[in-house]
Symmetry: C2
């Protein structure tokens, strides 16, 4: 891989710089902290202190707090694929699900496929595990099955990593037929699919297509090849570090042992609080507010880009999630643009941080999640001046 941790560190540096300088930041992968339901969460923690504090302070089950496992199982279930509580293992956010899958399924030197551009902290996990990362081409409808199949004639990956819905960084949505095809190819070529699904509930106008987990109930043999990973970082709050993993049955014991060896289990007061929060109906009540806020900001960003930069950039209207992906038509390296924009007090992450190799350097990522609509309009106006200059 061309990837290096220093390259991945760009995101962190740009986001920190933006926080310090107080400009308009489209840089972070952070949810808007103004949208955290602090009142609901404080009440949920206080219920822990009253009802279950000594249990939550003690060692617990490696797989996580049983009522939360049951709730996440119900949350992940669909008519075609019912998930049992026993299938769910609670993790420290989705990242630990990615990392655990890497450790269970791969050895140093193995090949991992990923649709690119790709989430850079996943790249970091693949890099540290010594894996050979191969990009699968994608378009607005997600990874292209024909490209995948061509690569499968040459390589034998252990794993393919995909974020099918509102991907970070590019906001793409894997089309329904492509989802089915991916699962069929996994069964046929015998590789595991690691579905990372933190954004699918952040849809704007219409819900995302069914997850690969849901579809795995319809594609014969696919359940054995699918690891589903998700997280509450974007739906409740990332600081809680609550995510979960649903491995296939034949890998479950090894996932649990790996979780045990990694950190015994995830922090429990947070798990108890999340379960209380959900049981009190706050999750369902609050999620539409997050969705509506991000949808409004996405529309504002798309409208500003369409007004000021339609002739210089390629981009598409976001359907959900937190990100827009842009490409400078004239080419060049978006790192130069980043430096120029920074002098105007606008921050974003250049595309080079999101590829295992052969980065398209003319690309960059804009997050619309944390900036109010008027700030977005002003930020895009400044960006258009930089690009015109």
């Amino acid at each position: 891989m061309d990837y290096s941790p220093e390259l991945g560190g760009i995101i962190y540096q740009v986001a920190s710089m933006a926080r310090r300088a107080g400009g308009i930041s489209f840089a972070g992968g952070y949810p808007d902290p103004a949208l955290f339901d602090t009142e609901g969460l404080a009440a949920a923690f206080n219920q822990v202190f009253r009802d279950s504090f000594r249990v939550a302070l003690q060692y617990g089950e490696r797989e996580g707090h049983p009522p939360l496992r049951a709730r996440l199982a119900a949350f992940s279930s669909t008519p075609s694929r019912t998930v049992a509580a026993e299938e769910v293992i609670i993790a420290n956010g989705g990242q630990q699900g990615i990392e655990t899958a890497v450790r269970v399924l791969t050895r140093r030197g193995d090949t991992v496929f990923m649709d690119s551009p790709v989430f850079p902290t996943a790249l970091q996990a693949f890099h540290l595990a010594g894996l050979n990362g191969i990009s699968v081409a994608k378009d607005r409808d997600g990874l292209i099955p024909e490209s995948l199949e061509a690569l499968l004639k040459v390589h034998a990956p252990k794993l393919i990593y995909v974020v099918p819905s509102y991907s970070n960084p590019d906001g793409s949505v894997l089309a329904l037929e492509r989802r089915r095809r991916l699962l069929e190819l996994a069964v046929h070529y015998r590789f595991h699919v690691l579905e990372d699904d933190p954004y699918s509930r952040l849809w704007f106008d219409t819900p995302a297509p069914p997850s690969l987990l849901a579809l795995s109930g319809e594609v014969p043999g696919a359940r054995d090849w699918l690891i589903h990973v998700s997280s509450l970082s974007k739906l409740v709050a990332p600081g809680l570090r609550v995510g979960w993993m649903i491995p296939p049955a034949h890998l479950r014991q090894e996932f649990v042992w790996t979780k045990l060896a990694t950190d015994i289990h995830s922090a429990l007061p947070t798990q108890h609080a999340v379960e209380n929060y959900w049981a009190a109906g706050r999750m369902e009540a609050h999620l539409p507010k997050i969705r509506a806020t991000y949808a409004g900001r996405a529309r504002a960003m798309h409208a500003a880009l369409a007004e000021h930069l339609a002739d210089r950039l390629d981009f598409a209207a976001p359907q959900g999630g937190m990100f827009m992906w842009c490409r400078v038509r004239a080419g060049g390296d978006a790192r130069d643009l980043m430096d120029a924009a920074r002098r105007e007090g606008v921050y974003f992450v250049p595309g080079v941080a999101f590829y295992p190799r052969d980065a398209d350097r003319a690309t960059f990522r804009l997050s619309f999640a944390t900036t109010p609509e008027d700030g977005i309009a002003e930020g895009i106006r400044r960006l258009s001046r930089v690009l015109a200059g």
Copy 2:
């Protein structure tokens, strides 16, 4: 290694069985939940809700909450080895420190030394990493430097794992001169020492000898070869999953990248609460109560064993921590004794779970941490009947 996860699972099974059946349990490695300072911790969390909740719910620094890092640095500092806040990386309990060291320093097939009997969840981490585990003999004064040196003539370990103070499972304390010698050997033979130090503050009559971290300031070159790992699981509460790691300077960046790839960072509301708890003086106020309670139970267990089983078992008076280690003089397999004791409503863990290979099967571990003194006396009486029968 002869070790298997199934074997390690014995501990979990026996402890669960004891909880369900409601007998007298000497089985768990758990602190006594009656000693959790729930009032102090609830107040500390409530301060988070008032003062820093949105920050604690957001993504934070990979290395952990800065004020808590500074506090843990001060806690870990001694006159001969001052620790800076920048050296401390917060982890999900000590286990994640062990796991991170394994990932940074070893590759599949590498050799790891450990003084045995040894903490079995560390064994689990070595096993999953595909390491070749070699036991170094120990006695009541911890690992025997001559045995270590003899093994170093034959093997080239990447790492030696030690719990120098009040080790789990055997309660041994590595003698001061042996600590210095271990560090000298590490420098000379060029291997890393992984010091796991969760129990040293749980001393009974006199404090434990200086940690390897403290001594590394006195042994030329030793700082570069020492990874110190510790945890608040036994001092505050394990469910919080707050531990920390102090790698040498040249490994720090790789530890941080590995932590990032594993789970981005540890849960933050718990870190903020622990910092508030400590700042309010509750840590210093509460720790002596834990120490006094465990000391009383240790004396009760030792007295009961001396009264009823001095002729059948070898054991020594605990100086701190949570465990006593016993050996049946007549030999045999302590798993048979475990089964017989279970029928009398007494639970403990057989020694076979604590060795990478060549287990001394006549050994077993007794925890005195969770059973009040009268229950300890009754449990040892029952055990003596089982051993007599």
